[in-house]
């Protein structure tokens, strides 16, 4: 695929991920819903799987994680900006590791059992990995410091919380595979670039305006 097209796609999907983490994630965290599991299962896995299916390119999801993590820095409600950004980037890196050996044509995911299983494994490992990264990074960047026993005693809880993310991933990946019929390379440039640019810019503008609005209110 054309490198410019791939770059535009990475920025688009990364911006959508960052937008969902910053805007939707913030509101979800204020509800009694399992926000972290929903964010990983639906948005992180959904968008990373969709981009891998559409663009058939390794490394793209790590790039998405870097863009989404950067966009996450514009959240005035965040208490440890760099920690959340690194956790999102870690999810992108974990996805790349899990999917590294997966052939790009994704023929192995043709069977429902395989796609559901892959969704479960990917979502669970990304959630648990991202959560552990946050639990390490936040104390490291604080005045209190990091204590390994604080993390170890909480590991069963993290593993338990991942169950919901796993189940969501088991539904989201087979749903994302419906995009296999879409041939992104055949989309005409005069349509592709304006659409990807407009959506990406809209994500960034909304997140930045939201940050300014919240800072003014507070």
């Amino acid at each position: 695929m054309n490198k410019m097209k791939l770059l535009a796609g990475t920025i688009l999907f990364g911006s959508l991920w960052g937008f969902s983490e910053t805007i939707i994630g913030t509101y979800l965290h204020n509800t009694s819903l399992p926000a972290g599991a929903i964010m990983t299962g639906v948005f992180a896995i959904g968008l990373m799987a969709a981009s891998r299916i559409l663009y058939k390119q390794r490394g793209m999801q790590l790039g998405m994680g870097i863009i989404a993590g950067t966009l996450r820095l514009f959240n005035p409600c965040e208490t440890c900006f760099i920690c959340s950004a690194i956790a999102i980037m870690a999810e992108g890196a974990i996805f790349e590791l899990i999917w590294y050996k997966m052939p790009l044509d994704l023929m192995e995911l043709k069977k429902t059992t395989m796609s559901v299983s892959m969704g479960i494994v990917t979502s669970y490992v990304c959630f648990v990995g991202g959560y552990i990264v946050t639990q390490i990074m936040t104390p490291l960047f604080s005045s209190a410091g990091f204590y390994i026993e604080n993390l170890l005693v909480f590991i069963p809880d993290i593993l338990a919380r991942g169950l919901i993310a796993a189940m969501i991933g088991g539904v989201i990946l087979p749903a994302a595979l419906l995009l296999k019929k879409v041939d992104i390379a055949s989309v005409k440039d005069r349509l592709y670039y304006p659409v990807t640019a407009t959506v990406s810019i809209a994500c960034w503008v909304i997140v930045i305006l939201n940050a300014i609005f919240i800072l003014k209110v507070l």
Partner: protein
């Protein structure tokens, strides 16, 4: 063994880990009406009757009011306050270790939540059951 068998097995293992961890977390949850501070048990009412109150604004712009954690520790008679670290433990085993300086910016609310004005949301411990003094 091919991927077609291996990945579903991994998925099963992952689900079993999640289920057993959920059972473990539920079984080990501590439900108590008292908070143990340096091996002495106190009720929330006792704590509020002996300590000064404080309102803090956390870094995520949430206001909390409750008993001042530093005053609470002083009232329990611990020596050399800044020589120790303080481990705040929740009923779900979530725990965070903080310094004496952090305790001076912390509060315990009536519903048993500990929050700090100088520490991130990750340091907010709900349903606190124990405050340990560690070296």
């Amino acid at each position: 063994m091919g991927k077609e068998k291996l990945i579903p097995i991994f998925a099963m293992v992952v689900l079993l880990i999640g289920i057993f961890s959920s059972v473990y977390v539920y079984a080990t949850q501590v439900n108590t009406d008292t908070i143990k501070i340096a091996n002495e048990a106190y009720t929330i009412e006792q704590i509020f009757s002996i300590t000064k109150s404080r309102t803090v604004s956390t870094p995520d712009k949430v206001n909390f009011s409750g008993a001042a954690l530093d005053d609470l520790i002083i009232k329990t008679g611990i020596d050399c306050l800044s020589c120790h670290k303080y481990k705040i433990v929740g009923s779900d085993n979530y725990e965070k270790t903080v310094t004496w300086e952090n305790m001076q910016h912390g509060i315990l609310t009536k519903d048993g939540t500990v929050a700090f004005s100088d520490l991130a949301k990750a340091f907010r411990v709900k349903n606190v059951v124990k405050i340990e003094v560690v070296d």
